[in-house]
């Protein structure tokens, strides 16, 4: 009776902006869709996020950000994951991004970019589909 693989997701909030309502909503929604969600709270540095992802051996990392720091923080997360040999972890982002940044974020390797008001079911479905495609 091997259990069917559980999807483990890290939800983190890098940057200095001080509230995490959006991140918490996503975390709860993913839990309610049957995933194990590790929530690390506010003001996470890329180093903290990557080390947590490593120890928790997650399948996916969701970064939520409201400040405009994404173009500084996201590449660093990708770089650190690469250094640990864990570029296989699915990355997605949530928050408010200028339209012109979205292709940049995707080019970094973020497979999903979700704006404010995204349907949380859509995010859960996205994760499931991506993980399934990876096998």
């Amino acid at each position: 009776m091997t259990q069917q693989p559980k999807i483990r997701v890290l939800i983190a909030k890098p940057g200095l902006d001080g509230h995490d309502r959006g991140a918490k909503v996503v975390a709860r929604a993913l839990r309610d869709s049957g995933m194990e969600v590790i929530y690390t709270g506010l003001r996470q540095t890329p180093e903290m996020i990557v080390e947590a992802a490593l120890q928790e051996d997650v399948d996916a990392i969701g970064l939520s950000i409201l400040s405009n720091a994404h173009m500084a923080l996201f590449p660093r997360v990708v770089e650190l994951l690469g250094a640990e040999g864990r570029r296989d972890i699915l990355l997605f982002a949530g928050g408010i991004f200028p339209d012109e940044d979205v292709p940049e974020i995707k080019k970094l390797g973020f497979r999903g970019v979700f704006g404010p008001g995204s349907d949380t079911r859509e995010i859960a479905d996205f994760i499931r589909a991506e993980i399934a495609a990876r096998g």
């Binding site: 091997t2 559980k6 993913l30 929530y39 709270g41 928790e56 051996d57 640990e84």
Partner: protein, 356 residues
């Protein structure tokens, strides 16, 4: 070398990624986990396993984080498992204990893992024992297992840990009520956290009274006892003389759970807790109780594994179609559940004989 043995070797050499992966294998019951753990088993038994339990929000994670920092300052490596319940309906879980642990993230001497209880409703995760062994084999000197204290989880933690800390905090309603009967029995160390809040002294006194009462009754039975002094935090956060319940307990030959006050959020009172943990470990070793506990744990492990293995074998031998048919029959009240079990066990026996 195959994958499992390779992974085991990497875990033994202190590779964090390998340890993380082994924990995933253990949690998802991957067949390789068993082989890797078997290879690592001789390396286990060195770590001090400390359970940390108590009502939601009493400050368990904050306390573990502060204890980890203090242990690191003494050169110990630390493993942390935080177990939270899975939803019995969706199977999902929200694991938030890391929020309080992020201080240690740059420190390679601390490894923290969040675990959902998965199949076990209300108890520790089935995989907890194996996860503890993985951290032990990876070389952690101290392993903290945090779990919300309720029902089965309390009993499970008492089995899995060598030393159990029960964390209470004032202001969670009726203090006496908070010290449920079972918790008095499993606690080796009591921590009254949030001692910066009103009511900490009252909670400590109420607890002391309950312990004294329990002890008077025990004294009548065994004609022996020891004195217990609730520790007092002075203004500087150090424990005043007389607050050395832990040492008093060791000297008397019988362990008396000390009652220690902390302000975990400000890292106050933490050294005394660490000392109490060490004193308890020393007590277990010197009294020989550690051998008895290890024997009990081994018996428990064997029994649980046997149970799981027998269930798996019986289901496999019968095959899914037969199992479904029997379940249908029970649901339709054509046979009773015991009869279904007998049928499954017979199928197993038949299959066993065919194989011979």
């Amino acid at each position: 070398m195959n994958d499992a043995l390779d992974l085991a070797a990497r875990v033994a050499s202190g590779d964090r990624r390998a340890l993380a992966r082994l924990l995933t294998w253990i949690e998802s019951e991957r067949p390789g986990a068993r082989e890797a753990l078997a290879a690592l088993y001789p390396r286990t038994g060195r770590a001090h396993i400390v359970g940390v339990t108590g009502a939601p929000g009493t400050g368990k994670s904050t306390l573990v984080s502060a204890l980890a920092a203090a242990a690191r300052a003494r050169g110990r490596s630390v493993g942390i498992l935080s177990v939270d319940p899975s939803s019995p309906f969706t199977g999902g879980a929200l694991l938030g204990d890391r929020i309080r642990m992020m201080d240690h993230i740059a420190d390679r001497g601390v490894f923290m893992r969040s675990m959902a209880s998965r199949g076990s409703v209300g108890g520790l995760a089935v995989a907890t024992g194996d996860a503890i062994r993985a951290l032990d084999a990876a070389g952690c000197d101290l392993v903290f297992v945090e779990t919300v204290g309720a029902g089965q989880a309390e009993i499970d933690i008492a089995r899995a840990a060598q030393t159990v800390i029960v964390v209470e905090a004032p202001g969670l309603g009726d203090e006496i009520q908070a010290f449920k009967a079972g918790i008095l029995e499993i606690a080796d160390v009591f921590v009254i956290n949030k001692a910066d809040r009103e009511g900490a002294e009252r909670a400590a006194n109420a607890l002391k009274a309950m312990l004294d009462l329990g002890n008077t009754m025990k004294q009548r039975r065994v004609g022996r006892g020891a004195d217990l002094s609730a520790a007092t935090l002075d203004a500087s956060g150090h424990h005043a003389p007389g607050g050395t319940g832990a040492h008093a307990a060791v000297a008397s030959g019988e362990w008396r759970p000390p009652i220690l006050k902390t302000v975990a959020a400000e890292k106050r009172g933490i050294e005394a807790v660490l000392e109490a943990l060490e004193a308890h470990r020393t007590h277990l070793v010197e009294s020989g109780e550690i051998v008895l506990r290890e024997r009990e744990r081994a018996a428990d492990d064997v029994q649980r594994s046997l149970g799981r293995a027998l269930i798996r074998r019986a289901l496999e031998a019968a095959g899914p179609a037969r199992v479904e048919a029997l379940i249908d029959a029970v649901a339709a009240r054509r046979i009773d559940p015991r009869a279904a079990v007998d049928a499954l066990l017979d199928a197993r026996l038949d299959a066993g004989q065919e194989g011979e």
